[in-house]
């Protein structure tokens, strides 16, 4: 197969190289015509290709290929991208989810840039190992370094463009470190950031750097390299070293091999994100939530190529921090710049190789350490999962159309996103949500108030009305109500019921839960309930009033000045719940017998909007809500 390829190439380029000798297999005129036709591409190729096969040249070809891929996919993305705080995330969402092949184009763009960085690093190492870094007095090496710097810069700047949490926070921290550098640090940070705090102008600026300034600069460097290469070739040709067609075939083959490996790497790096990063699809990592400067994003990490620096900061505490941020990167840069000069001497070259290898090992070690620390850190993984869920949720909501205020505002009004935050911050020091704090963590304070998962649903009220559960820590065991009148009532009037009363109680529970109008209990909904269910509810209301006498303490339907226990009209509905959270000591609710619960609105702990979000979340009243998993919770029959 490879033979065949070499022969093919040889055939094709043959005439240009074998002056006059081509006449053997055809007539002289035909050979001349063939020569004229074929010699142009062949000459062009011969002019550019080295006179022997070289992996270095093959890598340059692949670098060009990656650059081409990035340019083309970049233009495709640019058609849809809109740089501003309330349109950047939104437009990237649009690219990912609405543009034909958008997810693939962005994936290719993202992954190719990573692979290109690796490729250039390998090419630099190759130059050192093959001792070709002294070529043209080191100029070639320096140009490659320049290329590397530009690609790195472009990649870093490009990360901000989606304006999601990950891009925002890694940029935020990078800029902060930049501005802490001595001398030019603050000025550089200001020029790079565009505005402080980061905003519209940071995005317009990053767009210009990423799409406007860096690509021409890269082209400029590539042209300079091409020029040097051409001069070099000409000198060699003058010295009588003509490339052979066998060499050309070799070159093409190697270039082909490296390019195939590069493509494979692009493909596989997408897989790597799936295996190690928990991504669901091949492509660029899933969008995180829209950037929120006021949020807490504890999992901000730099890109993989800076992970080692991030890790090294851990070893330089306090005032020594500058060693990690400035001294080490500065020394490394100086060392790399000095390499071609030292490399002219034999011992210098050896020193370069030894030190270089050592540095590489240290960098690899630090990167691995940083990665593994996070990989094994449980807190980090939970927080990461939360961030990814937020991203998925934002995308899910966005599919319904993003309001003009932008995706951040949209997410801020989503009970499913905000509820857990608010619950964890304000409720979880006493309450629980299916055993945790709403965000999946177990709070430090022991539970001392009811678990509110599926509050006011049928299974929840069932548990409430069983003495063992009412008095357990899951419900009111940690409150004053443990020994209250309700506990007494449950013990005396609700235990040991005969069959008839048990049925009656079930009906009461159904009727009560129907008051809540929970979106996931549609079977109880007045509009969609069956005749039979409506009858059950009606009879449950009767029993509530007459059989069990709940109205002795609770107000239900009819106004009742003397009620001492919480209102049962609309129990668990949004009105009921927001009113309750606003002030549980209101006469409608607990009145004077309120235990410890603060009046969240009246004491201005939470705003009306926040209370509304919290209530919607507890009621699971949000867009695209799956039904709560009762069977998987403590509310399942016989669970505790």
């Amino acid at each position: 197969m490879i033979r065949l390829l070499i022969n093919l190439v040889r055939e094709w380029t043959g005439p240009a190289e074998s002056h006059g000798s081509a006449g053997t297999d055809g007539g002289p005129t035909q050979a001349a015509a063939e020569r004229n036709l074929l010699s142009i591409p062949a000459r062009v190729l011969h002019f550019w290709v080295p006179d022997r096969g070289s992996w270095g040249f093959a890598m340059v070809v692949s670098i060009l290929g990656c650059f081409g891929l990035l340019t083309v996919s970049g233009f495709a993305l640019w058609l849809f991208y809109s740089p501003s705080v309330n349109s950047a995330w939104e437009s990237v969402f649009f690219i990912e989810n609405r543009v034909a092949f958008g997810h693939w184009i962005r994936g290719i763009h993202y992954l190719t840039s990573d692979v290109l960085i690796v490729l250039v690093i390998i090419y630099l190492i190759y130059q050192v190992l093959s001792h070709s870094y002294t070529r043209v007095g080191g100029l070639w090496f320096y140009l490659t370094l320049g290329l590397f710097g530009l690609i790195l810069f472009s990649s870093l700047v490009g990360l901000l463009l989606p304006w999601d949490q990950q891009g925002y926070w890694s940029t935020r921290i990078r800029l902060d470190i930049t501005s802490s550098l001595p001398v030019a640090g603050p000025v550089m940070a200001k020029i790079l950031s565009g505005s402080e705090p980061l905003g519209h102008l940071s995005l317009t600026r990053s767009t210009v750097f990423h799409m406007g300034l860096v690509p021409p600069a890269i082209i400029f460097i590539l042209l300079a390299m091409a020029g040097i290469h051409a001069l070099d070739r000409k000198n060699r040709a003058d010295a009588g070293r003509q490339p052979s067609s066998a060499a050309l075939a070799d070159i093409l083959l190697r270039s082909g091999v490296v390019w195939m490996v590069t493509l494979l790497a692009i493909f596989l790096s997408g897989g790597l994100h799936m295996v190690l990063g928990g991504e669901e699809n091949w492509g660029a990592p899933h969008l995180k939530g829209p950037a929120d400067p006021a949020s807490n994003y504890p999992i901000a990490r730099p890109e993989w190529y800076f992970l080692w620096l991030f890790q090294s900061l851990k070893y330089f505490p306090g005032e020594m921090m500058i060693i990690g941020t400035a001294v080490i990167p500065g020394m490394l840069t100086l060392f790399i710049l000095a390499m071609p000069i030292a490399g002219r001497h034999r011992w210098g070259h050896r020193a370069n190789c030894t030190i270089g290898l050592f540095v590489l090992c240290v960098i690899a070690g630090l990167s691995l350490k940083a990665f593994l620390t996070d990989y094994w850190d449980e807190d980090y993984n939970i927080q990461r999962e939360t961030a990814m869920m937020e991203g998925r949720r934002a995308v899910q909501l966005a599919t319904d159309g993003i309001p003009p205020q932008g995706a951040l505002a949209m997410l801020k009004q989503d009970p499913m996103t905000r509820g857990p935050e608010l619950f964890a911050a304000h409720c979880a020091s006493c309450h629980r949500y299916n055993g945790h704090d709403g965000q999946g963590l177990i709070p430090e304070d022991p539970q001392s108030a009811p678990d509110l998962f599926a509050f006011a649903s049928v299974p929840w009220i069932e548990k409430l009305l069983q003495q063992s559960h009412f008095q357990s820590g899951r419900m009111f065991g940690g409150t004053e109500f443990r020994e209250g009148e309700m506990a007494e009532f449950i013990e005396e009037d609700l235990s040991g019921l005969d069959d008839e009363d048990t049925t009656a109680l079930t009906e009461v529970i159904t009727a009560l839960s129907a008051q809540a109008g929970l979106p996931y209990q549609t079977e109880l909904d007045a509009e969609s309930a069956t005749e039979q269910m409506l009858a059950t509810i009606a009879s449950g209301r009767e029993h509530l009033v007459y059989t069990f006498g709940c109205v002795d303490c609770h107000e239900f339907e009819l106004p009742d000045e003397d009620a001492t226990a919480p209102l049962l009209t609309g129990y668990g509905s949004k009105d009921w719940l927001t009113g309750f959270i606003a002030n549980p000591a209101h006469p409608k609710f607990y009145g004077d017998s309120n235990d410890r619960m603060p009046a969240f609105l009246d004491e201005s702990i939470l705003t009306e909007e926040q209370i509304g979000l919290l209530a919607d979340w507890i009621r699971q009243d949000w867009k695209f809500a799956p039904a709560p998993d009762i069977a998987g919770s403590w509310l399942k029959p016989d669970g505790n």
Binding site: D176, S195, E196, P197, G199, H200, L201, S604
Partner: protein, 208 residues
Amino acid sequence: MESREKTDIGKSNGAGGPATRRKFFGATLLGTGVLGAAAAAFGGLITGLLQPLHRRQPAGADDTGTGAFLFVTRFENLPEDGTAMRFPVITDPVDAWTRYQSRSIGNVFLRRVKAGTEPVDRMDPSMVAAWNARCPHAGCTVNFRRQEMDFFCHCHESRFLADGSLPGERSHSPRPLDSLEVQIRGDGEIWIRFQQFQVGTPEKKPLT
């Protein structure tokens, strides 16, 4: 480029008539024009790039909300046991051409000091300690750990004591948490002068 044109023309001047003179003027004009246009274009680009360095931003300093006293919360909302709580700082900031309505521009930690002392004087600003929630090390957000009663930053594991100071052992952070000025207005309203500071330096340098 211009000068070379001049000398070239100068050489041929002896033999030249009005045609060469016209050529000379043409070349000078074109040269100046090209140079001028290039200077203007690049000047514009450079000025644009350096615009963030100008002291005066198009949106005045007040509009970003930093540096002014802002209402954060009420005194009663601070836990009595001296636990620090994080609050967003809300204002109506301007970002370039957008004015946002009540948007958070950062987070602060507030904590009751002299916890447990009676009587509680809710008008005394020294009863409340306030810090910017950003870690002075590299700018991650700090958390308060109730059990340890300290501040902890997950990024590089910096620790701060409950009063914001650095613990005895060596810390990653080059300085304590950045404290903020507190005012108490009206009936126990806590107002904070919110500022951001340069991270990563031992001295606390406010960013303007």
